[in-house]
Symmetry: D2
Subunit: 294 residues, 4 copies
């Protein structure tokens, strides 16, 4: 396929590389042009403006936040004005519900198609074609994007035609994750301060009632005191913020999300913003006086 990839952060870059390796023709654009040029050796074409990256069958956006997406879509030389007929906008980063709806409407008005396809996974998950992709939008457009999804992920789940449905799964998933990680972090503090072996306790639980990737992964990271960024704490804060914004727009109180947000904010304030989400264990350890000696 003839594809565009806009946004070459850790995730976008891995997507472009993996799509190139899968044999697709890929035109890339990044605000800082240098990051685009690094991909030339691997066969990527470079777009001068976002609009130039959407002349093929689909253009993927993989950007840090709502503002970045608005800039490339509605800004000068953006997708909204210049998109070639038939080019599908596939939004793969985590953005707000309201922007998803806005994109869907804006593209609809110009006769373009929009697919919301946020993903669960990390850069190395993409290289191994093991992403979990959750897609929503026009069924035919999703079907046309299947080769893209197959190149990047091990599984694509289609959750309906309403483009809100896919980001909602992503937001709810990240909310449950933040809640689970904060809970594990509190449990770790209790286990450590009480002199109980955290490894033995968490092994039992993540092998039985909580035998799920989310729990196994974060329990392991915390036991290893491994805070190397896979999913940055600052991004976790951003995502919980999106959950709370979505919930507020529907008048739904979500106290666990509020609490998780405060803990993530404390983590950022204390200097852990570029560590992994697992660094919530540090926040809880500090709160429990376990770091007093340091």
């Amino acid at each position: 396929m003839n594809l565009g990839v806009i946004g070459l952060g850790m995730m976008g870059r891995a997507m472009a590389q993996t799509l190139l390796r899968a044999g697709h023709r890929v035109t890339v654009w990044n605000r800082t042009r240098g990051r685009a040029e690094e991909l030339q050796a691997e066969g990527a074409l470079i777009a001068d403006v976002p609009a130039d990256a959407c002349k093929g069958e689909a253009v993927i956006t993989c950007l840090a936040d709502d503002d970045a997406v608005k800039a490339v879509v509605f800004g000068e030389n953006g997708l909204a004005g210049a998109r070639a007929d038939g080019c599908i906008h596939v939004s793969m980063s985590t953005i707000s519900l309201s922007l998803n709806r806005q994109l869907s409407q804006a593209h609809g008005e110009t006769g373009q198609r929009f697919v919301a396809a946020p993903v669960f996974g990390r850069p190395d998950t993409i290289a191994a074609a093991q992403l979990l992709i959750v897609a929503a939008g026009d069924a035919e457009a999703i079907a046309q994007c299947q080769p893209i999804f197959d190149a990047l992920g091990r599984r694509t789940i289609v959750v309906g035609a309403d483009p809100i449905a896919a980001p909602m799964v992503k937001l709810v998933g990240n909310f449950l994750l933040a809640s689970a990680v904060e809970s594990l972090a509190e449990a770790m503090a209790l286990l450590r301060k009480s002199g109980t072996d955290p490894q033995a306790c968490l092994d039992v639980l993540t092998d039985t009632l909580f035998a799920a990737p989310a729990y196994k992964n974060y329990a392991r990271l915390m036991l290893e005191q491994n805070y190397d960024p896979g999913f940055r704490l600052a991004l976790g804060l951003k995502d919980v913020g999106l959950v709370l914004d979505a919930a507020a727009s529907f008048d739904v109180p979500m106290p666990v999300a509020s609490l998780a947000r405060d803990r993530l904010l404390a983590g950022v304030a204390r200097g852990h913003q570029d560590k992994d989400l697992s660094a919530l264990a540090l926040v809880c350890a500090e709160d429990a006086g376990l770091m007093n000696d340091k």
Copy 2:
């Protein structure tokens, strides 16, 4: 084996029946004698006082709370005074860390042995010999109790000699459960109020990142709006209270546990105490105004 079972609530009764069916000789005691007599037809012997139930190789206590355990151990004709030599006290209900320690010390002083062996499961899990049993205490004593554990459970995990270790796993497990269920309940409210299909969303998540029994089970109950008591909400409140007491004794703040306690307390106050823990979905739905019409 020659065993005693003290406490014939739903769990204790199922234990006694299952042990009888497995061929053990079982003497039962219950504060309300009638519940003991119901088991006579199945072969149980009846003890007039708690002390009479601990003349065999082991006596199991399966009681509602700390006060009930203290009464049968330290009260008149209790286990502490009258226990026959060699009879192991196996504590299988969820009680406080501090009482576990107190029992361990008190029995130690009289040369008796104490095994803390709290369980994960429900009455029907016992009948199917499918409990998860977490045991801590003297290794030899645990080994002697193995036939009991084999009759009741599919798996016994020994977490060490410190009797605190086993109830700590149970308390942490129930804390993680309450946190997960409250989080699912908040997510349900958001999904329903936003018009997103909760089934599709939760299917994706409990099939991937959160593919664990705790999440699958409670997501299903909430989707079915099934609040029939398997694990009563009022017991969930008791257990989160025990977690908070344990944490306070070590000066560990656990804000998610505090929040879960407030939500469970609201559930009890609103009349859901005898529904399942899944009724936290009702508390969240009420908070989100989803029940305004009723």
Copy 3:
């Protein structure tokens, strides 16, 4: 003075009327022109566009939220483009810190002056010239506005040249208020459910340690079960949201503010949005099961 008033909600309307009665010449503008016309009989002139209201010595904005202020300032025929030389923009409604900063900069660039002067009080407080006004900005500009402040309030406190300083006092004040009202509401629920006389208890406390207008006023409203809107619960939610946004921009967790926001959101979800902030007592009463019978 020759003044403009933009925004004729309950507060803005009372301001315009009071300024007219004090002998000032007042030109008004409101998105819905009808509300402006109602003031013609009292001597107000009507502006066709916002820019027409800022041809005198000062123009007051008193609008519902950030979006409304942005529209009249930066929108077509807005203040930013058309303001006559020397006309001071006096922002008297509660808007975000970031918009205050943006307004200050934008006006600075065009050589205009900006005074942030949020107020504590209600419509009837204005008519009685009893507002508390907190002003920040250029000292000379504030001095020139003193006749306006004297007409509306009993006291003006100048907190510095940084325009952020005044809205910060307002936001912190409304945060402390929301926190105090939620705390009183929880105390009310405890007192009522325990059978203790709330009146006697709150009389003692608001007559001693808590002998402040905020506590006296809201304790009285709750004891009278008076939820008539003086300060609407939905506005309280908006203001706590502004506090949390400001705090997030400086990486400051404010857990009491988060909790207050969730309770206010529950209040809105349950249908109390147009009641007074005192209706937090209803939210707490519902949570405590005191309304089960109704």
Copy 4:
């Protein structure tokens, strides 16, 4: 009057001294006899056992917690067994609602009288006869105790015959205080991190809406970064715990109290237990990253 004082901590000692100075005959008892002997030079008589301190017209208990009160009342040579006819038990320290009820019933059964009279104030408040005393119980017994209250306080408020009524006022008061102090601490962190002058902001608020002793006092302490113990943070934690226990006994969720408890617990865990309640400002500052450099 012929009086007893049991418990010679900072508060009890000041009470005994002040009553001696007022001309009363005072017999004291303390678990550590040395503290009693220190008062001999001022004219105090020493009781060998608690029962010996209750042979006059009234005996005051001023003890650290429920356990200490239970020991002197129900323990060997305690008040319950040996109290002389007519000696009124005046409980002036902050103890649980349930122990108040238990004392009232126990004394009632032996024909003794019980007055609950918790106080607001500090040791130096007692010496200046400036305590606020809240009394509940038998009206005649309270009247007989009036000379005691007059010697210690500037004001006695009688809130009814139900002995629960007085400790409830005290618990609610301390809950409102903890909530107000935590809120002020969060506001301080926001003001400091945003570069706004905290003094100017808090001066405005504590001079108007929040012009109450509780706010003025704690705002001043925080602005002075004065954490010298007047009301120890660890005692604040104990009192909020009593509030939550009382609320739980009536099935009343109090989320602000839960949150305050977690913050106080974090304060204790981080080593601030012997500082003043104002040290919640340190907890909030740490959470906001304001102490990162230290």
